[in-house]
């Protein structure tokens, strides 16, 4: 991706190269050599099955993955001119909630039950901005209006248990955006919500992103969400990015056998779990990952070379790259 000449360096909000994450004594990297680039005003979706390492990737980027027990390695990372992954605890905390914000999958449990909505939003303003309490409250009301919470001013004194799941996720979004971050990481922000609420929250996120221009890293297991919301997409399988590029290019011409399988199983919008009906088998346990391509245990095109060595990323068209020995795939499907 970073090889794409059409991406201007000043447009890049976050670029990370070769991010790897393992745990404890296990030598296997659950996340292995992941590279991502998020650009100004755009949404990059990371899509993959549950358990493939999306959450630990986003937590590591936020500095929220405790290490140890985690082992986090990377070649390089760039966020607003610095490498956040080399920052000390205090400096990283100064970024979080200010330039770098995150919303989580679980709106029901992510807000503190003993504090009011107003307290929880003003807290993050007061932590990072040199403003008084009344200004912080004014900003809280403003952002609550922006996330379309009715009667925003009255909601300041509401406790989380007095709000529905959708409303709580709106509060989480408000809390993440109140300081105007450069990058918003959203880890499956709609997965835990009812179908109708999912669509509302997604379109809210889309609108906010369009109006504020905040770059967004959107984590999802749902290709429907990708098609709806994202500009760029990175497909993750067993801790590796197997294919990435602009959404249109990737949907029009998927190159990796896993991506093709995902598309075949593209779930209806709102379905909770996207089952990969057209891909037989399941993700092996990390200890059983093949030395080469991790998809080799399920891939109809796998051969000894695939199992032996890791396929490098190859460029299909500018910005669109794939990690598969058999790319371009057409040559192998059409005999």
């Amino acid at each position: 991706m970073s090889a794409d000449p059409s991406v201007l360096p000043e447009d890049v909000v976050l670029a990370v190269e070769g991010l790897s994450i393992g745990f404890g004594g296990s030598p296997v990297n659950l996340v292995d050599g992941v590279s991502l680039t998020v650009r100004r005003g755009r949404t990059l979706a990371v899509v993959g099955e549950s358990g493939c390492g999306k959450s630990i990737t986003s937590l590591a980027l936020m500095g929220l993955l405790p290490h140890p027990p985690a082992r986090i390695g990377h070649q390089s990372a760039r966020f607003q001119g610095i490498d956040p992954l080399t920052l000390g605890q205090r400096a990283f905390a100064d970024l979080r909630g200010d330039r770098l914000a995150m919303i989580f999958q679980e709106p029901m449990t992510s807000l503190n039950p003993v504090f009011t909505v107003g307290d929880q939003i003003t807290e993050v303003v007061l932590r990072h901005k040199k403003v008084g309490r009344s200004e912080a409250l004014a900003r809280a009301v403003k952002i609550l209006n922006q996330v379309r919470i009715p009667a925003a001013e009255q909601r300041l004194s509401a406790y989380p248990h007095e709000l529905s799941g959708g409303m709580r996720q709106r509060v989480m979004i408000a809390m993440a955006l109140v300081n105007g971050p450069d990058l918003l990481i959203a880890d499956e922000p709609t997965t835990a919500l009812d179908v109708t609420i999912q669509a509302q929250i997604l379109s809210l996120i889309e609108d906010l992103q369009a109006t504020t221009g905040t770059a967004m890293l959107l984590i999802t297991h749902d290709l429907g969400v990708v098609a709806e919301t994202a500009h760029d997409v990175a497909v993750m399988y067993a801790g590796r990015i197997v294919e990435s590029g602009p959404v249109e290019a990737l949907f029009a011409d998927p190159q990796h056998p896993y991506t093709v399988g995902l598309m075949g199983a593209m779930p209806q919008m709102g379905r909770r779990e996207g089952r990969l009906l057209s891909i037989p088998g399941s993700v092996p346990a990390p200890a059983l990952f093949p030395a080469g391509c991790r998809f080799a245990t399920r891939c109809p095109f796998a051969d000894d070379a695939c199992r032996r060595s890791v396929p490098p990323a190859t460029v299909v068209t500018p910005g669109h790259s794939v990690s598969c020995w058999k790319a371009p795939l057409e040559e192998h499907i059409v005999r």
Binding site: A93, Y159, M172
Partner: protein, 315 residues
């Protein structure tokens, strides 16, 4: 809030009545005849009969209960069969030392148990945590009276720093009273601190794993705010429950500790009364402890309301 307190009181009163019935009924089932104990060596049948009449022991048990309850409601808990003091006098005399010991011990337990519990949860798996756990386990397994004797041997007999025995009422000489209470409070408070520490630790461990603590970190809050404001506020609920229970137990008297340090408190009063089948005293003491327990629980419920918005403003 007021209606909540009133509702709780409305529940507490029948409970208290039930407790009093149980106490009264169980007394009747206990073996041993207090009149025989009073009548002395010769056991003159006529004297015995007179005593039975006088104390109403010939009435049916429910009638005896009603008479007793009427008198209790007028503040008359009866007279000790042995010392002939009124039970109210005895309670007023023995309660203050026990309450003082309970309060001081509880303060020590809270001051030690909660901070070490928080620290050992935050530093889970480190040497700090292991050390705190070992100390707490020893604190839980060493009998209070034995620790008390060791402290007396060290600080009184060997070092002559603190008085070994000799309770001084707080009203008489507050300084001397506090000095005399140091060792017993440390002995009892230390054991409770261990229990509180373990409880605080496990409550904090649960809360520190929660999603809202992760959110607090995602907001860039620093550790003190995350731990004390976001985590501890939520860990407080089980800690309040535990503290209430521990304090309630203390009000029943720390029998052995009172014995070791010769504190003229509730513990000794209860033991003596039970052994002497001093019905009136046992009933008075148990009723008093039950009332204190109910009051404590009421206070704990109010504290819950204050710290838990889900109770204060249910959906």
């Amino acid at each position: 809030m007021l209606s909540f307190v009133l509702r709780r009181l409305a529940v507490a009163i029948p409970t208290l009545v039930l407790v009093s019935m149980l106490v009264f009924g169980l007394q009747k089932l206990l073996p041993g005849d207090p009149v025989l104990a009073m009548a002395g060596e010769d056991r003159d049948p006529q004297v015995i009969e007179q005593l039975r009449e006088r104390y109403g022991f010939n009435d049916p048990v429910p009638v005896q209960y009603v008479h007793w309850a009427e008198r209790v409601l007028q503040g008359d808990l009866g007279t000790s069969l042995r010392t002939h003091q009124t039970v109210t006098t005895l309670l007023a005399e023995k309660l203050p030392p026990t309450i003082e010991l309970a309060v001081l011990s509880m303060l020590i337990a809270l001051a030690i148990g909660i901070p070490t519990g928080i620290l050992s949860a935050v530093r889970k798996g480190t040497w700090t945590d292991h050390l705190a756990n070992v100390v707490a386990l020893s604190g839980l397994s060493i009998p209070h009276f034995w620790l008390g004797i060791l402290l007396i041997l060290l600080f009184s007999v060997t070092l002559h720093w603190l008085p070994a025995v000799g309770y001084v009422p707080f009203g008489g000489d507050p300084a001397a009273n506090l000095v005399a209470m140091i060792m017993p409070s440390v002995v009892v408070g230390g054991g409770l601190a261990a229990a509180l520490m373990r409880h605080t630790r496990s409550a904090m461990l649960g809360v520190l794993k929660s999603d809202y603590v992760r959110t607090a970190r995602a907001k860039g809050l620093l550790s003190p705010a995350v731990i004390l404001r976001h985590a501890f506020r939520n860990a407080l609920f089980p800690i309040v429950t535990m503290s209430t229970l521990l304090f309630g137990e203390l009000l029943g008297g720390a029998v052995l500790t009172e014995q070791v340090f010769t504190i003229p408190g509730f513990g000794k009063l209860i033991v003596d009364a039970v052994f002497n089948r001093d019905y009136a005293v046992v009933q008075g003491v148990v009723l008093c402890v039950a009332a204190a327990f109910l009051l404590l629980n009421l206070i704990a419920d109010v504290v819950y309301m204050l710290i838990n918005p889900r109770l204060r403003r249910p959906r």
